[in-house]
């Protein structure tokens, strides 16, 4: 008798578990349809505006800081690239394909972006001029997960090291002027060897290491500040000043962007400051003050 009850209980349980387990979709479309739609979105953003300023951060820990690349997505497969550190325009191809989301890849060699992906073996680290280990180099990426895309900006995340980078669109007819401005700002910046950081009544020292990129000696757009605990900041030099890789808090002051101010008697090389001048970055041409 007990056995029979047991059997009936088991059967009753099976009856419940036998129910259709189909869950209602959270989104109306299938995952494949949504992925394909996001790829189409990325294409329409890239091809819609065509010309972009790409804040490109190589390195596993953004240790070199940022480089400005200027892609022009001329068709659904072709792209030309210029950069603040390079002198020529190079063309190659790109593609957006489905991976763990839409993935933007620069899939044929373009020296402007793939320079950063070359192992040190190729960029001349054996002669002491290149950067990075012989097998990995600067660890630059050329495949990116597209986090978001619209006509104004595209957020990208490197697939290997996860650096988050931004592309913002610019008007095609202004691109030559913009590139010249970015190049001038970076050429000037390349002469600097150290910085005094004036923040919250204190002066900190930021001394970047030098690296030879594409034959030119250049301070990495990164340095470590002797705060407690110490803080390494990475940034990129733009036409108007400096943009940090992310928002940093230095001695209680939050910074993400600095504007360049021309030379004064107090600051003979000019200086970079945030909106309310609570954070100043004063360049000099020597490593020591």
């Amino acid at each position: 008798m007990k056995k029979q009850y047991l059997l009936i209980t088991v059967l009753a349980i099976l009856l419940f578990t036998g129910c259709d387990k189909k869950k209602d979709r959270i989104f109306e479309d299938s995952p494949a349809a949504r992925l394909n739609a996001s790829i189409d979105d990325a294409y329409s953003a890239l091809n819609g505006k065509k010309t972009w300023v790409f804040s490109f951060y190589p390195g596993a820990n953004v240790e070199y800081g940022g480089f400005n690349l200027f892609p022009n997505f001329t068709s659904s497969v072709d792209v030309t690239l210029q950069a603040d550190y390079a002198t020529t325009t190079q063309s190659s191809t790109f593609k957006v394909y489905a991976g763990a989301g839409p993935i933007l890849t620069f899939d044929t060699y373009n020296p402007v972006i793939h320079y950063f992906s070359l192992p040190g073996y190729y960029t001349g680290n054996s002669t002491g001029l290149g950067i990075g280990a012989s097998d990995s180099g600067m660890k630059g990426e050329f495949e990116f997960l597209v986090l978001s895309s619209n006509q104004d900006s595209v957020m990208l995340k490197g697939r290997k090291y996860g650096n988050v980078m931004k592309m913002k669109s610019v008007a095609a007819d202004q691109l030559p002027t913009i590139i010249t401005n970015y190049k001038n700002a970076n050429t000037k910046f390349n002469t600097y060897r150290g910085f005094a950081i004036e923040v919250n009544g204190k002066t900190l020292q930021g001394v970047p290491t030098l690296a030879t990129v594409n034959g030119t000696s250049r301070p990495n757009r990164s340095f470590t500040l002797a705060t407690a605990p110490s803080l390494t900041v990475s940034y990129i030099v733009t036409d108007t000043g400096i943009e940090f890789y992310k928002e940093y808090t230095v001695e209680g002051v939050k910074v993400n962007k600095l504007t360049f101010f021309a030379a004064t008697t107090q600051y003979p090389l000019g200086y970079y400051a945030n909106g309310n001048s609570t954070f100043k970055m004063v360049p000099r041409t020597t490593t020591t003050p």
Partner: protein
């Protein structure tokens, strides 16, 4: 009681069956065919590789088709065109000429070729020339240096043709095994992974009866190396190579014995006369300097 119980069981069991419901699958595939426009090289590959040989060439970087162990970059478009044209004329055509049709390469040649811009650089600074996977795919590296060396047959042999014939031989002997008697010629002489420290020069390897240091790794590599060196070098180059500094007549004799096994194997199993193949390749190599590597129809 009994009947009631049985009835209840029956009802419950039938309910369990009835409760199942199959979800209808969507007719739409999750894989969407690419609608990207074809360029000149895409069409060339389709017409000259895919249609006649059932081979696809992945010249644009696809991460899962490359080797994720290394830091690699894509090949240049221009280097891809060169490689595609060179490989067709100096790699595949000789076999077509010798066997009389494209059927041989269509059945045996790996189905996928991938192009990579740089070589795989190991953390100790040494590089890998080429790799093959399970007889289905050959990866060709260092295409970005191709343009500068495109008319040097020794460069092309070292980086590409040697690799292609070597890997192709692996596939042939995976399809039809070579005689086990080959394994006993050098027997315990194979050194495994320490090949690059055991023999540091070609001459030293030849003196020990191996065509190259890498051939001393194991019998299958030895077999592939013997084949590849034999067909890519002309008779005089081959003799000169065997007499590299440090080699010995005894070592050369061992290599010649092994080479005979390879030749017999190729003749009997595949009907390929290695001397005729070599002659055909050399005749084509003579025209390398005037061979058009860059123009696509």
């Amino acid at each position: 009681m009994k009947i009631k119980y049985k009835l209840m069981c029956l009802v419950l069991i039938s309910l369990i069956y009835a409760s199942c419901k199959k979800e209808k699958l969507s007719e739409e595939s999750v894989f969407v065919d690419s609608t990207l426009p074809k360029n000149a090289l895409d069409s060339y590959i389709y017409n000259n590789y895919t249609i006649p040989y059932n081979i696809d060439i992945i010249y644009k970087y696809v991460d899962r088709e490359s080797d994720l162990t290394y830091n690699l970059v894509p090949a240049t478009y221009e280097g891809s065109i060169r490689m595609t044209k060179l490989l067709l004329n100096f790699g595949l055509k000789p076999y077509d000429d010798i066997t009389g049709s494209k059927a041989f390469m269509r059945s045996y040649f790996p189905k996928i070729l991938t192009y990579i811009g740089t070589s795989s650089v190991k953390s100790n600074g040494t590089i890998v020339l080429g790799t093959a996977e399970g007889g289905k795919k050959i990866n060709l590296y260092n295409l970005n240096n191709l343009a500068a060396n495109a008319t040097s047959i020794s460069y092309l042999n070292k980086y590409y043709f040697h690799v292609i014939h070597h890997e192709f031989q692996h596939i042939l002997n995976q399809t039809k095994p070579f005689p086990t008697s080959f394994n006993t010629i050098s027997g315990v002489g194979y050194v495994g992974d320490v090949w690059n420290t055991t023999y540091t020069t070609d001459g030293a390897a030849i003196a020990a009866g191996f065509i190259s240091p890498y051939a001393s790794k194991e019998a299958t590599e030895d077999f592939a190396e013997l084949y590849s060196f034999y067909v890519t070098l002309s008779a005089s180059e081959y003799t000169a190579y065997l007499n590299s500094t440090g080699s010995t007549p005894a070592g050369i004799a061992i290599i010649n014995t092994k080479t005979e096994v390879v030749k017999t194997y190729m003749k009997n199993e595949f009907g390929i006369d290695m001397d005729a193949l070599r002659a055909n390749i050399q005749a084509k190599v003579a025209g390398l300097s005037t061979f058009d590597q860059t123009t696509l129809p």
